[in-house]
Amino acid sequence: MMNRRDFFRVVAASGATAAVTGCQRTAENILPLVVPNEHIVPGVAAWFATVCRECPAGCGVIARNREGRVVKLEGNPDHPVNQGALCARGQAALQGLYHPDRFAGPRLRDGAALKPVNWDAAQKVVADKIAALRSAGKGSAIALVTQLETGSLGAFLDTWTRALGTRPRLSFEPFGYEANRAANRITFGRDAIPYYAFEDARVVVSFGADFLETWLSNVNYARAFAHMHTFRDGRAGTYLHIEPRQSLTASNADEWVRNAPGSEGPLALAILKVMVDEGLADRRFGEAVARIDVKKVAADSGVPVETITRVARAFADGKPSLAIGGGMAVTGSNATQTLVAVNLLNAAAGNVGKTVRFGPDSAFGRVTPYAETARLVQAMARGEVEVLVLGSGVNPAYTLPGGLKFADAAKRVGLVVSFANQPDETTALAHVVLPDTHWLESWGDYSPREGVAGLMQPTMAPARDARPMGDTLLALGRAVLGSEAGKGPLPWATFEQYLKAAWEPSVKGAWASALRLGGVWKETAPVAVTARVAPVDPAPPTFEGTADGLALLAYPSFRFYDGRGASRAWLQEAPDTMTQAVWDPWVEIAAETAAKLGIARGDVVRVTSPHGAIELPAYVSPTLHPQAVAVPIGHRYAPYHIPRYVTAPLGPRNPVALLGPAAEGASGGPAYLGVRVTLAKTGARHPLAILQATHDQEGRELAQHVDLRAAREQALRGRQDHEAHTSMYPDPRYPGYRWGMAIDVDACIGCQACVVACQAENNVPVVGRAQAAYGRQLQWIRIERWAEGKPDRPTNLFLPMLCQHCEVAPCEPVCPVFAAYRTEEGLNGQVYNRCVGTRYCGNNCPYHVRRFNWFQYEFPAPLDVQLNPDVTVRQLGVMEKCTMCLQRIIAGKDHARDERRAVKDGDILTACQQTCPTRAITFGNLKDEQSAVVKFAHSPRAYHVLEEIGTRPSITYLQKVVREHA
């Protein structure tokens, strides 16, 4: 009798004659190492601790090295800042490491092109020019601009500038929080940014601070926020957010208060006034708000008096509470005064020293204020700068306000030297490029706040011909000074040597253990401050542009930061959670404005300010304040994206180009909220690639919520048993483990970190804009946004959606080849080598989580090196989906077997769970009654998505807890 497998064999053989010639196997070599590396066993991962440098937050990272190549990044659980979590940008850093556009060696400008040269030739050009300027006594014509470097590299660079007699180094960060520092100087007499202890606050009020996206240290604060806000044992803190736009951070608030652009300061003062008037704050704060008329503030800001009163009472009730401000989008000409008002609120509520802690001050306090950078650009424009050296990570041609005209000024500089390791808007102006090693290939250290000193070590050999910036500058400096290694002001042979010498006094021989831990952490003594109470000017910000224009809210993208993340295709394809748009940027226009101008979603709109114009497709928003229009900062494409993933944009799309050059007077910071723009339809259409068709659940209750009061009652009374669904199939039995997951919708903030982590772990390809628009994206997990309530003030629910691993899975019985089947451990398995691509399973999946390989997707070199060797790379015509990180389950079981024990709760972390900043995801054995996942599954808030269809998912969701007033 012929069995099924033989049948396929014969069927396959009928095509044999055609295929025979293609079946010859070529001999394959296996190469042993000549001398083995004792730290690396082929097939076994080695982990190296370092510090993420994708933004100045400085989270700890551990890099998973397989066979000499880093394949995955995870948060360092021992690092005090991120405590094991990592954001989407951190996860995507690997795509910077293996970026196809990375420079392979130095470049020298030859006309319009940058031509490859050798290191000696490139360095000679720079050294000769610097030496000539020095001998002419023109050291001040040499300028060095780097990103924020707090550790040894910063100290080394300053040694270098002194040794060569150049201008002092600028620590340039586009988002520098100058106004926060200035306000702290005024109120507390301390030019620093404190640590904000969200975890200890009971009520948080944010005045436009996007602390779940980019503000200061988003992973740190997201973790602390989850601790404060997520419902646990009947307790949950309150979070109120005031901003003209419903940002991702705003949509996580229990109440989002929409105010007129720039009115945060007056609102903060009105709240303080109410607190003083109602006796909720010390009388001495009355002096600061003597001239405040709450009714006038209400009228100007569009926030009703009742709302102001309610926020004031909630804030005073917090004990401790926490008020924060200074999001870039709301940083206008009145930013310092606004933040002084926020400081007074904290002081009046008694939060200083409790939730506002000076002592563990943020590294942002060391950023060179924007005004200094602007002065340098003006000096460049006057021809006073002849050599401009730009460190890696800075891209002033893209990130400086358009009104400053950096590109024009740079053209007057004789020699622009860039250390960037991939092309950007600034290398397009550079004469010499000396590519720096990627931070995953470099020695270094970074201290994101006092008391936390993270150590960086190379996690692999450079993927491209690159040299550490420190090494190159040492070579340049010695060439200029004519000194030898070991002598003179720059004696170190390499920057690594400098670093180790700098660390020796503090680690005292314990270098290896500090390296293994990822750094050295110390308790920092708190610094006591007293608040100076003085009247605050409640003036609105000043705007350039026509009075009838709309205020431009240029806000940092949580995916791209200031643009440095945009070259990573994973981040381009992880949708913006609020709009669900991928790849393209957009201009967010209020529904009222759009109706007036006849603009529909996808219409190309020209946004004009006094400093320039950009053209972007429109996204019509029911929530945006009608006096505002919002454009995300940071959307740019890398050369290799075009035309592989997107078509080339027709014109500039950077909102920063629309901003004026003026610095905010009090702080010297940039004014991101400083221009009014006009909108005009161009007549062209550019539909956005939006991955979620609707945000309306249509009563399906996919993402569920429960009232805080009801949640508390349930927590006391316990769970009411659900009615079990009957099935026509026999109940499956699980001889060993049964894996399952719990996802707390109350904790999910929609940050997309899990989406990118999964893509990195599971070799998920990038499909590009056009395919994504067809709904052919391949990510195994997605964050759905569901809006409840009034369309203009919705409560947003974020629902991570992935394969539910149903016990009665609709995908399984429809598969003609048994590629989809139920494993012994309760997973829904997908066998790629069996799959013939009928797509019946995908059509029958009610959760729409199965993904089909419509094409043979490529991993452009050297991105293919990043592929996880433990996961099959799927090919054309194969269906795929979440495996619950099966390779990690297998590794966890293997590890437990080595120790002759069963898998313990917490042994196995899925990639999405591991990276989640708010710990919204829990994975474990559903047969272990003591496991965290079972405890969640028995929670009164537990439910299954589409429970009524009887699929019996292995994933339990926990309802979001909404506050009564929301």
């Binding site: 033989d6 053989a13 296996i30 190492l33 097939g43 398995g829 790629y832």
Partner: protein, 196 residues
């Protein structure tokens, strides 16, 4: 007539069997590559039988990794600096070492890339190397006699040669089943254990 028909039927059956074998051996993934000339004529038989060297002395990653691993050139030289240093094949090893070059061994055993085979778990379960790799200790040229090729299948059919391990999925699964049934093991049978 009866006898003639019988012979005809037998011939037909034989032909069918041969055709089926040819087809089946073609369509099976060749887990073993063609015996090719290795860069160095390395006799496993001498190392294992004459000098009693344990498999894991050279393939030392087998107990800790997915891959069994090949000895580094340095490890070869650990013995061959002295032992047999004058032999022409050993001189080739010394030459590679002197040039700091890896020896370009030709792969013999290969599973398809959608299959994950961890050596470590099998060593832990006390599976002998020979169970899958055949009697390597007797081989002068490794892999010359194994593999699901037509000649092997025919020779096996007439009993001229013991069946070499074919390293096919059915063979793996049969062994797992047998171990579970007879030796009280818990060898996994889930597809996704090896295909993920």
């Amino acid at each position: 007539m009866g006898a003639k028909a019988g012979v005809g039927a037998l011939a037909l059956v034989l032909l069918a069997v041969l055709v089926f074998l040819a087809v089946s051996s073609w369509s099976r993934q060749p887990a073993v590559a063609k015996p090719s000339s290795q860069p160095i004529n390395f006799p496993h038989s001498v190392h294992v039988q004459t000098y009693r060297i344990d498999c894991q002395y050279c393939h030392s990653d087998a107990r800790r990794s997915e891959y069994a691993g090949l000895p580094s050139v340095e490890r070869c030289m650990g013995c061959h600096k002295i032992a047999g240093a004058a032999l022409p094949e050993v001189k080739k090893v010394a030459d590679y070492y002197a040039r700091s070059e890896p020896i370009p061994w030709v792969r013999v055993n290969k599973l398809p890339e959608f299959t994950y085979f961890p050596h470590k778990a099998h060593i832990r379960a006390n599976v002998k190397c020979q169970t899958c790799h055949g009697p390597v200790e007797t081989m002068t040229t490794f892999g010359a006699e194994t593999g699901p090729r037509l000649t092997n299948d025919l020779l096996n059919l007439v009993g001229l040669r013991p069946a070499p391990p074919p390293l096919t999925m059915g063979w793996c699964v049969d062994c797992h089943r047998r171990q579970n049934a007879t030796a009280g093991m818990h060898a996994p049978l889930d597809c996704v254990t090896c295909h993920h």
